[in-house]
């Protein structure tokens, strides 16, 4: 099965897989198997459409503004799914994922803008560097578990945020961020008319993430990771090392984040300290949970919608009353509501009303054990 993006125009591409990883093929399973492929096709040819969707987008679909907005959405869809490899699959609540996104973005930005490297070798080196960084820090952080793991990853990422803000040696541009110098880029990625290539690049990134994560889901590794999330002892009994498996997941997720960061820097034309902040990690968590953590498409849908709303609300900001002009107010509130009323995220909404009933029951059942 090929993967795809999920443009807002084709809601059919978000099959509700409420059970974790293993795909359950329901009666209209044939259609569902083809839906992602169709969505990918639609996404690929979308830039040739001059369709106008007033309210959803400001210009026609093929206008640079719309394509840029969609490209950012696609990048975040990929970043969210990459994060969900850690959070939804392996059950690792990392608060420091932003560090690897920032490593990818700033790595490409610095090497291209300051040192004049060519783009493709730069991306390769940067992604490798993000993987090595994830391996080193993950090796330390995974010595702890639970809340302590969350805190250590948060603290490591905070160091990255601080260093980037301090602008060591004039490398990162400090609080202002570092615009990507177009001189070092291939012509296909420069200029407003080439926004469409950035869109396809973002789509390619999302495709890579989806294929990678879904391949892992179907491989023994995926089942082992979810087993680890549910009961670490059971995996240890099988003779597998939980530590090594978790580190593998951590490095894979870090690598995908690095690739995503590099794509992001190209799409928005630079890097700013915000992508290294804990707020970025928090929003990745929000995306995964909103969409449905641990499901096949949940994080993709969540990431796409989050990024879309974030950008649209920011643009509409002035015209909305009071706090509704603040994207984070709307998104944070939506998120809280989702945690209460749709614990499985959007992916579970269509098939389950049970959580709502449970949430409304006067006294929630106490936790197991």
């Amino acid at each position: 099965m090929k993967s795809s993006s999920v443009p807002t125009t084709s809601p059919a591409a978000s099959p509700a897989a409420s059970s974790p990883s293993p795909p359950s093929v329901t009666p209209p399973g044939r259609l569902r198997r083809l839906a992602p492929l169709l969505a990918l096709l639609v996404a690929v040819v979308l830039p040739w459409s001059t369709l106008r969707l007033p309210g959803l987008f400001e210009g026609p679909l093929n206008s640079p503004g719309t394509l840029q907005l969609l490209a950012v959405c696609l990048v975040f869809a990929g970043l969210a799914l990459g994060y969900d490899l850690l959070f939804g699959r392996a059950g690792l609540l990392s608060f420091g994922h932003a560090l690897y996104v920032a490593a990818g973005a700033y790595g490409v930005d610095i090497l291209v803008s300051h040192y004049g490297w060519r783009l493709w070798p730069t991306v390769a080196v940067t992604v490798l560097a993000a993987a090595v960084l994830a391996a080193l820090l993950g090796a330390v952080a995974l010595r702890t578990s639970g809340i302590a793991f969350s805190m250590v990853t948060l603290a490591f990422a905070q160091v990255g945020h601080i260093v980037i803000n301090r602008d060591p040696g004039g490398l990162t541009g400090g609080e202002e961020g570092l615009p990507l110098s177009s001189a070092g880029l291939p012509a296909m990625f420069t200029g407003v008319v080439n926004t469409v290539n950035l869109y396809w690049l973002a789509l390619a990134f999302l495709t890579v993430v989806v294929v990678t994560v879904h391949t892992i889901d179907r491989a023994p590794l995926g089942r082992t990771l979810t087993g680890l999330r549910d009961d670490e002892r059971r995996i240890a009994v099988l003779g597998l090392s939980p530590y090594r498996l978790k580190l593998l997941a951590f490095v894979l997720a870090g690598t995908l984040a690095g690739l995503g960061g590099a794509t992001y820097a190209l799409v928005v034309g630079g890097a700013s300290p915000h992508i290294a902040s804990s707020e970025l990690t928090l929003s990745l968590i929000v995306m995964a949970v909103l969409g449905g953590a641990g499901t096949r498409w949940g994080a993709v849908v969540g990431g796409f919608l989050y990024a879309y709303l974030d950008q649209r609300l920011a643009r509409l900001g002035g015209s909305l009353p009071g706090p509704f002009g603040e994207p984070l107010f709307v998104l944070g509130t939506l998120f809280i509501l989702a945690v209460y009323f749709a614990p499985g995220g959007l992916a579970s909404l269509s098939s389950r009303l049970e959580p709502l009933r449970r949430a409304l029951r006067p006294r929630p059942a106490p936790d197991a054990i």
């Binding site: 609540l93 330390v140 010595r143 702890t144 578990s145 639970g146 809340i147 302590a148 969350s150 805190m151 250590v152 948060l154 603290a155 490591f156 905070q158 160091v159 601080i162 260093v163 803000n165 301090r166 060591p168 804990s278 707020e279 928090l282 929003s283 968590i285 929000v286 949970v289 009071g322 706090p323 002009g325 603040e326 994207p327 984070l328 107010f329 709307v330 998104l331 944070g332 509130t333 998120f335 809280i336 945690v339 209460y340 614990p343 949430a359 929630p364 106490p366 936790d367």
Partner: protein, 288 residues
């Protein structure tokens, strides 16, 4: 010598802020098992409430109002958002994450994203000469407040019925219920206490930095988290010791090392402590 004195007192002033935030955070985590990302919001709410009335009411009533508003916010968050998710800890953390994002945005929509000048009483701007160092008086205000809070908290935990329930609940919540005590009332109480102390920290931070902004709570919160983990989850004295260590380390290394090295060294300290003693200095085992 005078530089060392100034750095030490400034570091202790910072430590006082960390302690005020971390002590409530630590009690909330220790008792209710909630890693509270919305704690920074309590801080900002208190600071803005005090800022709003400080011109017309004067400093002391403004501080009292800010603390009261922050305490009420804390209690309401527990009652409305946390309690329905009783014992579902991951969901509780997620709700506080959402609240921290939405709450800061809400403050921003009311008071704007830019920093506001926070008025400080004239005496807080004066300087005191200690061993040749010209030390701003606000440092003593911070340190004094933190020491008073420490003593007050310890006395509360040691000598009151609720303090007893909280200490027991940090050890074993279920067993407290099994003695016929409604431990959830204690949850509300620690959220209110945590909110009050965070509000106080927000007001004092406003005086210390001479300004407040909606995001101020979040940046202080990360160091407070580090203090909580180093000190041991649920331990007030542990949080105090860790706050002093973190504040001094940060201040001295930032001065004698390159810019930012102090912050990095604090994180290194956290990593070292966690690898050597995963439960933190005061040693209550961190629940997985």
């Amino acid at each position: 010598m005078s530089t060392v004195v100034l750095l030490a007192l400034t570091g202790l002033g910072l430590a006082a802020l960390y302690f005020l935030i971390a002590s409530g955070l630590s009690l909330v985590f220790g008792l209710a098992g909630v890693l509270n990302f919305a704690h920074g919001l309590f801080l900002s709410v208190g600071a803005y409430a005090a800022w709003t009335v400080s011109e017309s009411w004067g400093a002391i009533p403004a501080i009292l109002l800010g603390v009261a508003v922050a305490a009420t916010t804390g209690a309401l968050v527990e009652l409305v958002l946390i309690r329905p998710l009783y014992t579902r800890h991951t969901e509780q953390v997620l709700v506080t994450v959402g609240l921290s994002l939405a709450g800061v945005a809400l403050l921003q929509s009311v008071w704007g994203a830019d920093a506001r000048v926070f008025p400080r009483p004239a005496w807080a701007s004066s300087v005191v000469n200690i061993a040749g160092a010209q030390v701003p008086a606000d440092r003593f205000l911070l340190i004094g407040a933190a020491v008073l809070v420490l003593l007050g908290l310890l006395a509360f935990l040691r000598f009151t019925r609720y303090g007893l329930v909280i200490r027991a609940g940090v050890e074993n919540r279920d067993m407290v219920s099994a003695l016929g005590i409604d431990v959830r009332n204690a949850f509300t109480l620690v959220f209110a206490i945590g909110g009050a102390l965070a509000g106080l920290a927000g007001i004092l931070a406003g005086m210390y930095f001479s300004s407040i902004s909606p995001g101020q709570g979040a940046s202080l919160l990360i160091f407070a988290f580090i203090v909580v983990v180093i000190g041991g989850l649920g331990s007030v004295t542990g949080a105090f010791a860790a706050a002093v260590a973190v504040g001094l380390l940060q201040q001295f290394v930032n001065y004698y090392g390159t810019a930012g090295a102090g912050d990095v060294s604090v994180v290194a300290l956290l990593a070292a402590v966690l690898l050597l003693r995963p439960a933190g200095l005061a040693g209550k085992a961190a629940p997985a």
